[in-house]
Symmetry: C2
Subunit: 485 residues, 2 copies
């Protein structure tokens, strides 16, 4: 499939100069090309590499590195993004701050202490409390799945360290993740209820490197009950093999993580205002915060780059779309406890601040699954199979995007609260085959971004968003009218 | 090429039971099949997976984990190997200890402190001295190559941290390594001579993960002059990009490494004694020690597995070869300073202990380049192109082994001192395309071993070693006589 995409990219590259000449030759609105023609031109410009996406994600990840929620790096990145938005000519650029309790990783380590000494690679799970100052030590009890841990008797893990060793399955659509991640979310509580002193998890990931995949876990009453860590896949293998040799495996764990009670995060907003229905908003989301060990390149620097690059291409057109296109770079998507209910994460804060506007949010989506190629479009139920969908697929088909078998459903963490409040969502599904090799690890760095696939993402987004924003389709309830063609 | 190998493996698997039946049907020496027929049977048995190679490397790396030179883990692994050698029926099994000063990594860390705070992934280079207790901090000066560092004026790096950022080139035969590794070997001294307070190196490796590649560096008068670290490739990229943005990059480095002056390492020896020329020895080497962050699976657990599995197959034959086959598992190949000149590494210690025997070492080689497929055979000059070589290539050709364009030259660290003392060497070149993704990193773990390629290595070794050991070819000087056929 990569080869196919490259052929398209090459063909588009040849066509791009002609396309750009067409764009610059577009006249006033009355004589403008039909929306579908403009969408195809925007698509081709992006496929030819005329986007700011790569330079955006390069500069963001280089200048600020990791951007954990509530950190100075996240705040500096937000200020930089707002300044860049203004320099790009966007409108209504502003930052909306919200309070949160931040979680801060510090030194951490782990080692096997019996039957002999061997170092382990771990990462404390987000919100996980520190160990006692000198660390804690215990025999490891291995459970194949969370279900097996749940089947253990109350009190049966007194003083032990519980390990859930389930392997995540690699799937193009990422559907191996929810099956495996339940152990990360609920494992610490289930282990604590049975007396465990700490919780270990085989990383929820598909790689086999000595790199652990962190992530949040469920907290209740403001806390995770016991120190909890992800183990790298080869380390989990090693513990399983030692146990299979009949050895009792003892492990020592150290974490000096802490909480900052008076932190804040922020959403960064920018728009290209619509020409005749500016109150109607197509809202595009991605998150500016990242986990703390990588530089948040694929999670979610590329998402912020894709939607920003799409907005820039639309803003550079000689005429505006009918509706407003709004970009929101959310803060605190990954981690961060709310100070007051509803005040964090960024997606909740957005709904609190924009509740009265949500009725005129006509469509939304977020880009938060890396930057490998878009292969599928799902529209809201009201638009699925409609003339709008047919037009969109005519534009997106040549760059390898198929119609989804079902309307859009899962909206993602950032725009989820808006969708719950009634805003219709679309999804441009990305190839997630290698996403969970990198997700939530120190390895989430710029070198993992495939530039030509990143540009294909921009092409898909800009074409789809332009079509929606330059239409009067009601994605909520009505059968949409076909776009002018 | 992998597909081709697999086809051969499948074909061999089908043939293997027949081959084994033939083997067990071999009669006394007088009626034994010709050596080339036996070599082919041994090859086919290994290709069919009838080897102990994988279980050996699995148990070694699981039970003992990292085995740094002079460590308890290395000593325990040596005792285990000797016990296993006896259980396998090998002869003359013994351990030869030698003293050394061991180097011990402890906690270490690195971070960018300006223009903002970002964590870095580093690994102290072997023998590198610790930083002051609280770490050291300095502005980074980037040099593209060691040559550029050498061109810097004396004193020009006062208080700075020198970084050599050369990228290693991926090559099948590993020839990208010597070109890049000079910066690791000589960089610390060159930087120190110009006043640098510490030395950084872009990891000598071909991967792009947040994993650093350690390795030794030159020491003089028992010491490396300044704290020296390898940076992971993405971290080196990040420093270069920050510098390209016009930023002065400041870094803080911490290492608590130390030295143990009264340590010891050891070589482990085992044999299958020859039936009529037992004093003539074909000596096979690999090293039991490993770097301290991985479990030494490909460097060099697989090497010890390949030669042990080959010896086991030969030992299980109904008749012995004419000459003795000796396996030596060397200690302290990676790191460790000699207490007295010539007493370490393991390869030197072997020559010291066996100097009088070396004249009857007829041939040697070591396996220390992972376990990906063998593709090329190089024999000593006296045997290149000889009837012996022709017979060997008839047996090895079907499993994808070609004749080398030149006689064997580079003998490796372990058998190198023996070769310098006059022992002829052969080389079975392995595919090193992915070797330097893993080499000297925490990622050197069992999951990186491709079992079918490991067995192909055993097949090549056992066939070649059998042919040499069951012959009377003089590999030193004479034109060898053809093996009986």
């Amino acid at each position: 499939m990569y080869a196919k995409i490259n052929v398209v990219a090459l063909a588009s590259r040849r066509a791009s100069l002609a396309a750009l000449c067409l764009l610059s030759g577009v006249g006033p609105v009355a004589g403008a090309p039909a929306p579908e023609v403009v969408a195809a031109q925007l698509r081709d410009a992006a496929m030819a590499g005329h986007t700011i996406a790569y330079s955006w994600v390069s500069e963001l990840t280089t200048r600020f590195g990791p951007r954990p929620a509530g950190s100075a790096n996240e705040q500096q990145a937000a200020a930089w993004a707002a300044a860049r938005f203004k320099a790009l000519g966007f409108e209504n650029v502003h930052i909306e701050a919200f309070p949160l309790t931040a979680w801060v990783r510090s030194t951490e380590s782990a080692e096997i202490t019996a039957p002999n000494t061997q170092p382990l690679v771990v990462a404390a799970l987000g919100e996980s409390p520190p160990t006692p100052a000198g660390g804690l030590e215990g025999d490891v009890v291995i459970f194949p799945t969370l279900g097996d841990l749940k089947a253990a008797a109350p009190g049966s893990l007194g003083g032990k360290i519980a390990l859930v060793a389930r392997r995540m399955v690699r799937m193009q659509d990422g559907s191996g993740y929810p099956v495996a991640v339940d152990a990360r979310v609920d494992g610490p509580h289930e282990a604590a209820q049975r007396g465990a002193s700490a919780f270990l998890l085989r990383s929820v990931g598909t790689d086999s490197h000595r790199i652990a995949h962190t992530g949040t876990t469920r907290y209740q009453d403001g806390r995770v009950p016991i120190p909890s860590f992800a183990l790298s896949a080869p380390d989990a293998d090693q513990l399983e093999r030692l146990a299979a040799l009949g050895q009792t495996v003892r492990v020592r764990l150290v974490s000096n993580a802490s909480y900052v009670r008076d932190a804040h995060s922020q959403n960064v907003i920018a728009e290209v205002r619509g020409r005749d229905r500016p109150q109607e908003i197509v809202m595009l989301g991605a998150h500016l915060d990242s986990w703390d060990q990588g530089t948040g390149a694929i999670d979610d620097g590329t998402g912020t780059a894709i939607i920003t690059a799409a907005l820039k291409l639309i803003g550079d057109l000689p005429h505006r779309p009918r509706r407003t296109v709004r970009v929101v770079l959310f803060g605190s998507e990954e981690v961060g406890q709310p100070v007051e209910p509803g005040s964090a994460f960024g997606g909740h804060s957005y709904v609190v601040n924009h509740r009265t506007e949500l009725a005129t949010h006509v469509l939304t989506s977020e880009s938060d699954f890396g930057a490998d190629r878009v292969y599928q479009l799902a529209l809201p139920p009201a638009a699925s199979g409609s003339p709008f969908a047919q037009a969109a697929l005519r534009v997106l088909g040549p760059i390898g995007v198929l119609a989804a078998p079902r309307p859009a459903a899962d909206a993602g963490t950032d725009v989820g609260p808006s969708v719950e409040a009634g805003v219709p969502a679309f999804t441009l599904s990305q190839d997630g085959t290698r996403y969970f090799d990198i997700h939530h690890t120190p390895d989430d760095t710029l070198d993992k971004v495939d530039r030509s696939q990143l540009d294909q993402n921009v092409a898909a987004w800009v074409a789809l968003v332009w079509l929606a924003a330059d239409s009067d389709v009601d994605f909520r309830t009505h059968v949409p009218t076909p776009p002018a063609n």
